[in-house]
């Protein structure tokens, strides 16, 4: 080590030194979560060291199907995103909001223990980093702040890992959210290099990240390292499973509001809501009130909801989006069009989860193309 590292400096960390990275992060008091093998998929769970990672595994993904396979090498990041997304940790599926106790004709609030663990998110992919930024905008930096999300997010230590093995559902390259476009919001970014000596290019994106990186036995990068990384990036771009043309998607979908192709999609769509649960940017929730039998206590719990449920749009008199086509239309139009009006970005980061984890393989990229091909063509009003 010959110089003082600064934020943004790219250095090399040998594969054998990866365990040290985990130690350094844990020493700062973080509970590390990252990719692990479980039930035939790569999911997110607590990890202690590099040994818990799915080393030497890859996935084969396509619409409605996912399979694990052994790799021929010992890649640490040789797979794409799985069924879980980091919103499980930053925006948990269930959370207690408040409790109250009756006191004669009045009531008083009872304290709830808010769990805001100091999390380290290890192996966040660029598209997932983009998804976290989308949720930051909605849940932490918008008009209404979710304090629990904001504090989990503020405390989190984020390690981004570039993708060199995109999945069959992936289309981050089309949306500029990957495979190596890390954007902002992380503490460390890693690029795994498989060619030659197994190593990682590492950069710090924050002072927290810099403290960790400085404590590691890094070495200087050589031009060969950068060339290898670029070759890998080009290969990843060529192997992107899907593509989406976001050009004019907003106007296109607004114009397609009464296209009868929505009905054709609805014939296949199960209204099951898997796409919304799997999507890393979907943030909708509902609240459930529970009472004690004697009515003396009550608790309000928040749970992930889906715009595919009838209750989601229920108001006095019934559900606004009653017909299946209206529910799928709402979802897709929100992701690709109205999200832009609402939050200034797309609601989609191109991770492909909604395609892969849809039980009947409905493909948002394909549907967008279908609408595009029908513009000015044989569209008929559904109502």
């Amino acid at each position: 080590m010959t110089r003082t590292l600064r934020i943004g400096d790219q250095v090399v960390l040998d594969r054998e030194r990866l365990a040290g990275l985990f130690e350094a992060i844990r020493k700062l008091g973080y509970v590390v979560h990252g990719p692990i093998l479980s039930d035939g998929a790569i999911v997110l769970g607590p990890i202690e060291s590099d040994r818990d990672l799915p080393i030497g595994w890859r996935d084969r993904q396509d619409a409605g199907t996912y399979r694990l396979e052994r790799r021929e090498d010992d890649a640490v990041f040789g797979y794409a995103v799985g069924p879980h997304s980091w919103k499980r940790l930053l925006f948990p599926p269930k959370r207690s909001l408040w409790r109250a106790e009756r006191e004669g004709a009045r009531f008083h609030l009872l304290p709830i223990v808010e769990d805001t663990p100091k999390l380290a998110l290890f192996g966040v992919r660029p598209c997932e980093m983009a998804a976290i930024r989308v949720q930051d905008r909605v849940l932490a930096n918008g008009q209404y702040q979710d304090s629990n999300y904001a504090s989990r997010r503020r405390q989190a230590f984020v390690v981004v890992a570039d993708c060199h093995e995109p999945g069959g559902g992936c289309f981050c390259a089309s949306l500029g959210t990957g495979p190596t476009e890390q954007g902002e919001g992380w503490d460390l970014a890693m690029t795994e290099i498989l060619q030659g000596r197994h190593r990682f290019l590492v950069r710090a994106g924050s002072s927290k990240g810099l403290d960790v990186l400085r404590a590691l036995p890094w070495t200087e990068t050589s031009p060969a390292d950068l060339q290898a990384a670029e070759r890998q990036r080009q290969r990843a771009l060529r192997r992107m499973g899907r593509r989406m043309n976001p050009e004019g998607a907003k106007e296109l979908l607004y114009q397609a509001a009464s296209d009868n192709h929505w009905d054709e999609i609805a014939q296949r769509c199960l209204m099951c809501g898997n796409c919304t649960m799997a999507c890393p940017t979907c943030f909708c929730v509902t609240v459930v009130d529970r009472t004690s039998l004697d009515g003396s206590q009550t608790e309000r719990e928040r749970v992930w909801d889906s715009c595919f449920s009838l209750e989601f749009s229920y108001i006095h008199g019934g559900s606004v989006r009653f017909s299946p086509y209206a529910r799928y239309r709402h979802w897709m139009t929100h992701k690709l069009a109205s999200w832009q009006d609402q939050f200034g970005t797309m609601g989609c980061v191109g991770c492909g989860r909604c395609i892969v984890w849809c039980p009947v393989g409905i493909d948002i990229t394909e549907e967008l193309e279908t609408f595009r091909s029908r513009v000015g063509g044989n569209r008929e009003a559904v109502r």
């Binding site: 599926p93 199960l270 209204m271 099951c272 009472t291 039998l293 039980p359 009947v360």
Partner: protein, 267 residues
């Protein structure tokens, strides 16, 4: 829902029709909350728990089982007349149950095959849900019902609020739990996408497909799921068997099983 008058403990009756008793037993299964439940209501009729019988009318009637005899078809009318709230519980009471498989066969043949003296058997051709006979205030699904949901319905009735019983798919519960989808990751047939939540996605949590014991979800698209199951290599016979079990006679499952039946039923 209207609130039960707070002044007195509401009278609760538990009735049985063609069924296995599993749903009523989930009341006794409440263990931790059982004493509190029994303290909040007056047990007026519940032969599984007590021999004491109080006369009607009843504030809450829980009805288990399907209607399979003329005698029962009359009895349910009587119970309805005597009950302020009638809640049908379980797949039998809400869809006809597993015994509705008779709806797809000739009852005479079954009776001849099973009973030594078939002439003593007086049974209806079809097993039908309670809703087909009387007005039902609330239906609780499941084979058996979930004891937590049963408690929630009683709780809601006692507190005069709407029960939190979602009608969306099992998949929402499955994904919230963080399960890896057995259809996507293992091509295992799963009825979760067309089945109503409430069980907590028990089967997928143990790596098997949902077999639909909670009956159709609010917007079931069984035809599309069945078409996908064909692509996953399931044949018509397997699809019929999948959709034709505890909730065979529910409209949404019935239409899929008959569409895949070979040869197609006549008429």
């Amino acid at each position: 829902m209207r609130a039960i008058p707070k002044a007195k403990r509401p009278k609760l009756a538990v009735w049985k029709f063609a069924s296995c008793d599993g749903c009523q037993l989930s009341i006794l299964d409440l263990e931790d909350q059982l004493l509190e439940v029994l303290g909040s209501v007056e047990l007026a009729y519940f032969p599984e728990a007590t021999r004491a019988v109080l006369k009607g009318p009843y504030d809450i009637s829980l009805v288990e089982g399907s209607i399979t005899t003329r005698h029962d078809a009359k009895r349910i009318q009587e119970i309805r007349r005597n009950s302020a709230f009638l809640v049908s519980i379980g797949a039998c009471a809400t869809a006809g149950g597993i015994q509705a498989l008779r709806n797809y066969a000739n009852l005479r043949n079954y009776i001849q095959a099973v009973y030594p003296r078939p002439e003593f058997i007086d049974s209806l051709d079809k097993s039908t849900p309670i809703r087909n006979h009387v007005f039902v205030d609330f239906e609780l699904r499941g084979c058996p019902v979930s004891k937590e949901q049963l408690l929630e319905v009683l709780n809601a009735l006692l507190n005069g609020r709407k029960p939190n019983i979602p009608a969306y798919s099992v998949c929402l519960e499955c994904k919230r739990k963080g399960n890896v989808c057995v259809m996507v990751a293992a091509s295992r047939p799963c009825l979760g996408p067309v089945t109503q939540a409430g069980c907590g996605a028990i089967c997928p949590s143990f790596h098997r497909g949902c077999y639909g014991c909670f009956g159709p979800a609010e917007s079931p698209n069984g035809a599309s799921l069945a078409a996908w199951l064909r692509r996953l290599g399931q044949d018509d016979e397997a699809i019929v068997r999948l959709f034709r079990s505890f909730n065979a006679a529910s409209e949404a499952f019935h239409s899929v099983s008959t569409a895949h039946e070979n040869p197609k039923p006549q008429g």
